[in-house]
Symmetry: C2
Subunit: 450 residues, 2 copies
């Protein structure tokens, strides 16, 4: 019988995260203080983030950073996640390609987000912090952070993008089961939220608005730090556990990927699966391709511009050098809420600029078609976000259907909380929301006027 | 670092199911033809079930039955499931007991039900059947059967208990993603359904009504067979894969359970975890305790009577010797929909009669309290059904808190589709629905009048 799943024993779960920043030949430009335009130092981040995460964020020297034993102990609750050979999907497509996926959906929270929530909560606890705040889109990150806060005995306050709060009430409930305080954003509980609502009373929220509110709460509350589920370097660092495991598991399968694919919101799951493999391209001249799959409705990698921009709507964060659609970009209400972010992380932006990776944008209907095909073939209903990676993998498998190419994608989460979206898709009520290059350019121009 | 999870390599996934019927010293009395009152033979079941399942149902000779390679290949999509040491829960309780759980929630469908859905669909396919029907309560079994039908290229028609259809729309959506036809029961699509609705237009359905409708559809449709997710011997046989894996995994942990616990609806997950361990009690005189945890609102094991009864509301099924609340019993609308069944399987009924196992009944509020405690401690939001097993495990761990007793329970599924129930619990809107022995007796008497 052909082996379907590859698992690592607990002793093989990585002891160190991989920090691609240390190996990049062209480092990203530094983040800037928005007022002084001076490059930031780690200490400048201390008012927002815990100290260890701030240091990790700026660390471009150490390629390997030890995972604290307390975090590894919690990782062992669900790691390693399986690497799965998608025989069913291969057959459904009719391809000779070997398709593998890393199944992060088996985490207790149902997605990869716990990989960074646990260390962020742990470092806060260790530094004597009592309260943490964050934003969440679809709720995957918020659920992970709420659980991690509960594990390490912290109070969590989560701002959830209003449209997701309303579309996905179950995710709010999950956060509440873990004891978190959840507020839809924009809200009247912060100055940033009030300003946004004043300008646009019907604002359905975005990761940008929720970040503004969470950062404001963190900076105004004693003993409280902000945590972020994507975009930043230290998040990609924590998520590298995905790719490091996958590398060992691919070796168990006796294969090495020709192409590695992740869906793309801010870069956390993409970086997690891709960077450990990418180091062999950088250091040993391997030629694996890396493909980030983003929604056509929020196409910062394929249609955005590379510039310094804020990570939030209100301009509270440092200025980051990144591909962006403009920090006031209001994405369409697609169901892949976790991908509705206007910018890409600094690392990914630099890698894309340097040609070390590629990006594709995919329409909503194609992603759900891929998701249903995958569900029928592999039994797992994928998260709408993950459907983007599946759709990109299917494109690759069709384009090379007579070659035995090895395709690896990250199944970042399951879609069991997203069944309302599938209902609408099956009923023919979903649409595409592709935006044009002209619309993107107009949005970027509008930002300059402020 | 203490090991948290124990996984088996694919080569160690069982090749045979365990059939406790062959080892039971006192066999259950035979099922009877309701008209002739003659003991049934396997052939008598052929009009309802596929032939192989019918033969397995009556097989009390072979203790080990080979798992077909095609089924093992599909098992490998998600098996082995992890055996997990619940360090977090132990700490939250403050007990010296060692608590383990078998985590069936990581199956693609989110529960153990797939273990029997796959072989049932496979045998149907092999025998040239094109259509299968079934009933489902909470939707766990229906989702599993829908996926299994899709895997083996069969059409599936599912009757879902109306109250669950309405309370848990996401489960219906999952079945539809897998291509199944889903109808709330009682419905006007069958004679049985029409009769039930005529008598009680507001009937919210039960597994009994849904079974009547599915059996009727199967017997009236050419090339169509009925499948069942619990109660029957062959279902417990397929589910033995849970306990057989757990036995090997407990050995990896260097322990053997003092008590094995499962929640109890019809007996599928309880038998699955318990019977492989129970064989050592029967054959080698081990003294492990086995505890079935049922809801106080549907207490057939603790308050029911042992007698011949139908498995469905309308009396289409054979008469089974079992602990029952009467086949017209209408359980309260508790959220553990999978446990709302009036009778216990024949094997479990005989084992309970013979003192080889125990049963406890638990109130709804205690189960949700246990579920929230478990979620915070272990990160997994459990299904309301599984909360009964957790509550019983917590009772044991508290009762023996200064002893190093080894407690094993089956986490039959996750509760991510049941968040509305948790919402109600957290808001203080859930109640207990304990029924008294007098009410049970009155119900049994009423059945006799027909």
């Amino acid at each position: 019988m052909k082996q379907k799943r590859f698992m690592l024993p607990e002793s093989e779960i990585p002891t160190h995260w991989y920090n691609i920043l240390a190996d990049m030949k062209t480092k990203p430009q530094p983040p800037l203080n928005p007022k002084t335009k001076e490059p930031l130092k780690a200490e400048d981040l201390f008012p927002i983030f815990c100290e260890e995460c701030s240091r990790q964020e700026m660390n471009d020297k150490d390629a390997w950073i030890e995972i604290p034993a307390e975090v590894r102990e919690k990782y062992a609750y669900y790691r390693s996640t399986p690497l799965v050979r998608a025989y069913g999907l291969e057959e459904a497509i009719g391809t000779k390609c070997h398709i593998y996926f890393k199944n992060e959906s088996v985490s207790p929270i149902g997605s990869h987000k716990l990989n960074s929530a646990l260390p962020q909560a742990y470092y806060c606890k260790k530094e004597g912090i009592t309260n943490i705040t964050t934003e969440t889109g679809a709720g995957q990150w918020g659920a992970a952070l709420s659980y991690a806060a509960s594990v390490f005995g912290l109070e969590a306050a989560v701002y959830q993008v209003k449209i997701s709060y309303e579309q996905k009430p179950y995710r709010r409930s999950i956060m509440q089961v873990f004891g978190a305080n959840v507020t839809p954003s924009p809200s009247m509980s912060t100055r940033a939220g009030k300003d946004i609502i004043t300008k646009d009373p019907n604002h359905t929220g975005s990761l940008g608005t929720a970040i503004s509110e969470a950062v404001e709460l963190a900076t105004m509350t004693p003993n409280c730090k902000y945590t972020l589920g994507s975009v930043l370097n230290h998040v990609a660092l924590h998520q590298s556990v995905i790719g490091l495991e996958a590398e060992k598991q691919m070796a168990m399968a006796g294969e090495y990927p020709d192409v590695v694919i992740g869906c793309f919101g801010g870069g956390s799951n993409f970086g997690g699966i891709a960077f450990p493999f990418m180091r062999h391209n950088i250091l040993e001249g391997k030629t694996t391709r890396f493909v980030a799959a983003e929604p056509s409705s929020c196409p910062k990698l394929t249609k955005g511009v590379f510039k310094y921009d804020f990570a939030d709507e209100s301009g509270y964060t440092p200025l980051l050098p990144m591909f962006t659609l403009g920090h006031r970009f209001k994405p369409a209400n697609i169901h892949a809420g976790g991908l509705r972010f206007h910018g890409a992380g600094m690392i990914v932006s630099q890698l894309l600029k340097d040609g070390l990776m590629e990006a594709v944008d995919i329409d909503q209907l194609e992603t759900f078609e891929a998701g249903v095909m995958f569900a029928k073939a592999e039994g797992i209903v994928p998260a709408p976000e993950s459907c983007h990676a599946i759709a990109a993998a299917i494109r690759e498998a069709k384009a090379h259907k007579d070659e035995e190419k090895v395709i690896l994608f990250n199944l970042s989460g399951h879609g069991l909380i997203d069944m309302a979206a599938y209902d609408q898709y099956l009923a023919g009520n979903l649409q595409n929301h592709e935006i044009s290059q002209d619309e993107v350019n107009a949005n970027i121009e509008a930002d300059k006027l402020d």
